[in-house]
Symmetry: C2
Subunit: 315 residues, 2 copies
């Protein structure tokens, strides 16, 4: 943590007071010095990521002081300057600010685009989602249920499994530590149509085994393989015989879906048809541990770091 | 080898004298007692597969005696009886009979449907194909060249690599024993757009590393993994970041493409724009060894077993 002088916004820029920021698994990937869809973080520079806040100084007419905005450029700091094009005004009448980091933000759109556009999920199909208690997984499962699917989730504790079944309406949920293939077969004896993969490794292997002919794998993230390359699936040959499709995607390719997505999710949240748990961690100084804890599976739902004290708002 | 009485064709059936039969890698897969897209061969029964021959006795008006036919039901025998629906008349004016087992048959259609329908190959793209000297691979490479692509092939001997470069017009070809990733990078420094996978294992791993963003993997066969489950790729996480699509397919799902495919390939063969090497093995008694040799990489192009002496034809 360093304290530094931030300077003045230039023409077309605004200075934003960050109130909340997101921690996401992809941030770990950006710490590897590897060619990827976004360049790696650089040692000595401020990390970036999703954040919300309000404009406190502006040199852009479209962003008057007091405007609430979200941005993918401004996490991991109290204040930040960005070009207006990287600051999206958000509507606090539609949902409170932190929702734009989760249910109405990148994790929510990831679930929506992955399930429908990549996974081609249809009513009556069976979906298996790993890391089902997380920011993306809780949304995948509930969206599939809302659209007439059967949903199975894997998580890391029996408590999370019970929460998914009892509170979020999953048809089945289990602790992957107790064995994946066996529990998946018990939950879906006829097999699964879509596997939404947040994990890779042995969960991917079990899913390949359970997929029906013409099944789809939505390759969203392989959290178990960000830090180590273990547990590579040995049954890929089934991709041929069962005519499976495995397709990777990045949410930033699907921003055109944002309006349809936000309309549906905001309405479902208001009507109580969809729950989206948020875990708040207070204080920017606790953000590194919050990121590490994503990989330990300690939290449920979307993890948000409160950068400003709760209730901070424009003067 | 047993000699037995075959009986008489029933109504709607015909008795066929087999002249040539195909040996294909999938036959090894059918020897495993596993759920697959076709049921396993059963011990004590005659194996089946692609064959051509002519009708010697008929109880179906559409198949007069002397008609040349191809069938997927009648390999591994000298004579066979089948329902007329499993016997497709073939045109020996278009191409000689064995072509219907290779260039104009299942391996050719596999290359055609895989490259265009699954791989979505487009002019100007770079294709890497493994097992490139085989019945499918030689066709994949030449089709991609005919349609304006750049083509790289991997094979198991330096002689085959030279043949692909010098005779079939591949832009590059190498012996995979000399290291795959390095040779692939040298041949395609900017990466590849499509990987046509006949092999799986370490060649799949190298291809994943070389694929460009939005690249496609045509999962046609994983010959290296039919007998053992080794060399599972450990870099699947790149499927996410590079938004790759890996899709399995079975040629039998693409029979609607047969007319367009046969028209194009027969014309290209006649005009000398396409070469399709055939290796003939004489004698049904040598068919088991011919099948084994597919996996040893001894032969080039399509391997055909002559069941009847060369030149056998309707009386």
């Amino acid at each position: 943590m360093v304290e530094t002088t931030i300077g003045e916004p230039g023409p077309g820029q605004a200075l934003v007071r960050i109130t909340d920021m997101s921690v996401d698994p992809y941030m770990r990937g950006r710490m590897n010095d590897a060619r990827s869809y976004v360049p790696p973080f650089r040692v000595g520079e401020v990390m970036s990521g999703g954040a919300v806040g309000f404009v406190v100084e502006s040199k852009d007419a479209s962003l008057p002081v007091g405007t609430w905005v979200s941005s993918n450029e401004l996490a991991w700091r109290d204040y930040g300057i960005a070009d207006a094009k990287f600051l999206q005004p958000i509507d606090l009448a539609m949902a409170h600010a932190s929702r734009y980091l989760g249910a109405l933000g990148m994790p929510g759109l990831t679930a929506f685009a992955g399930l429908f556009d990549i996974g081609k999920f249809k009513e009556g199909e069976t979906v298996f989602v790993s890391s089902a208690g997380g920011a993306v997984g809780t949304m995948v499962g509930q969206l599939a249920k809302l659209h007439g699917g059967k949903v199975i989730g894997s998580v890391g504790t029996p408590e999370k499994a019970a929460y998914l079944r009892d509170e979020l309406g999953f048809d089945a949920a289990f602790d992957y530590h107790d064995g994946i293939g066996k529990q998946l077969r018990a939950a879906a004896p006829d097999g699964i149509d879509v596997y939404f993969d947040n994990v890779g490794g042995e969960q991917l292997q079990a899913a390949i085994g359970a997929l029906k002919t013409y099944g789809r794998i939505v390759a969203c993230g392989m959290i178990s393989q960000y830090s180590e390359q273990s547990g590579a699936p040995t049954n890929l040959t089934q991709i041929v015989g069962k005519r499976l499709r495995m397709q990777g995607f990045i949410v930033f390719d699907h921003n055109d879906r944002m309006p349809a997505f936000r309309q549906e999710i905001a309405a479902a949240l208001r009507e109580g048809k969809l729950k989206y748990p948020e875990t708040f961690i207070d204080g920017l100084e606790n953000a590194p541990q919050a990121l590490l804890d994503l990989f330990g599976g300690h939290h449920l739902g979307k993890v948000i770091v409160r950068v400003a004290p709760e209730g901070t708002k424009p003067a």
